[in-house]
Symmetry: C2
Subunit: 181 residues, 2 copies
């Protein structure tokens, strides 16, 4: 599929922002209930000033134990991770955690819909890449030390996500085609 | 159902802790993939000291937009909120937010399993209370200003959750009975 020409309107916004806008639209139109999980934070010190809100004075970022987004669509559990890269020819596996892979395996095993949304920022292309391919790539990575997924593989096994005005990353149109036929 | 006598071992631990232990057990035994969502925090100021981890120096608690827990069980989306009360005769509605109610309505509409886990700490009883009853109670609350759900109603329409050594709040045994018959 070719992206709509309007998808260049996309440039400069972060993938996460685009997905959040899309999810709000899906929620408002009653299409799906999908939310970003909050950033996990280890809270160490909290102050409680009089007459005002509690202030967190010391906290640290924790590793996420799962993926970025989950929810329900067409009665199915849906779960995905969003990643953006500036690379043009491959998607680096370096910032995917082992426990995220385990989580994705478990979700597939239990019958959920699971995928990555990968944006190649340089050419402003955003792909839905099903978890089953990513799990295969991960195995290759463990076996051969390959550090990234070639762009052409994602282009071949993934599906380009169209840009729409309100659903800036209209991934559910791709989910419909891939998981509900 | 009568609680197991061993459920008194439960005393003194918080409900959330018990549920987290239970979820870890469910995950390890490959029974379900259910996680607590991180506490939502608005981060205002972060320091990046040399040679050590980023420190959040100012942040505030945000209202959760959904519920405490979600995940997948027997191919179904599952979503719930956990609340503990010291009251003996009723469960206060005061700390339930309007948008949490909206979220629960949407989850039910999309075919998900949705409920509250309510613990009456004084008598150490923990109930699974299906969302459909809570949504009815909420409507009464809006109409008549009723500020709480009577204990006997929760006892009647909810199901007591058994305590088990590894699954301290073994709510999936109740989910099996209520949602998969
Ligand atoms: Mg991400
Ligand atoms: Mg709670």
């Amino acid at each position: 599929i070719k992206p709509l020409s309007t998808h260049y309107g996309n440039r400069g916004m972060s993938l996460e922002k685009d997905i959040n806008i899309t999810n709000t639209y899906y929620l408002q139109t009653n299409r799906a209930v999908i939310h970003k999980k909050p950033t996990p934070v280890q809270i160490v010190d909290v102050h409680y000033p009089r007459r005002s809100a509690a202030v967190i004075k010391e906290a640290y970022f924790k590793q996420a134990s799962t993926t970025d987004y989950n929810g329900i669509y067409r009665s199915k559990y849906i779960d995905f991770e969003a990643k953006e890269t500036k690379n043009k020819t491959s998607f680096p596996l370096a910032n995917i955690q082992d426990h995220q892979i385990k989580h994705m395996e478990a979700v597939l095993q239990h019958g959920g819909i699971c995928f990555f949304i990968i944006r190649f920022a340089a050419n402003d292309e955003t792909f839905l890449y099903p978890a089953k391919y990513l799990l295969m790539d991960w195995k290759h990575h463990l076996k051969n030390g390959r550090k990234s997924i070639p762009y052409h593989r994602i282009q071949q096994n993934g599906v380009l996500i169209p840009f729409k005005f309100q659903a800036r990353v209209d991934y559910l149109s791709v989910v419909d085609r891939l998981y509900f036929k």
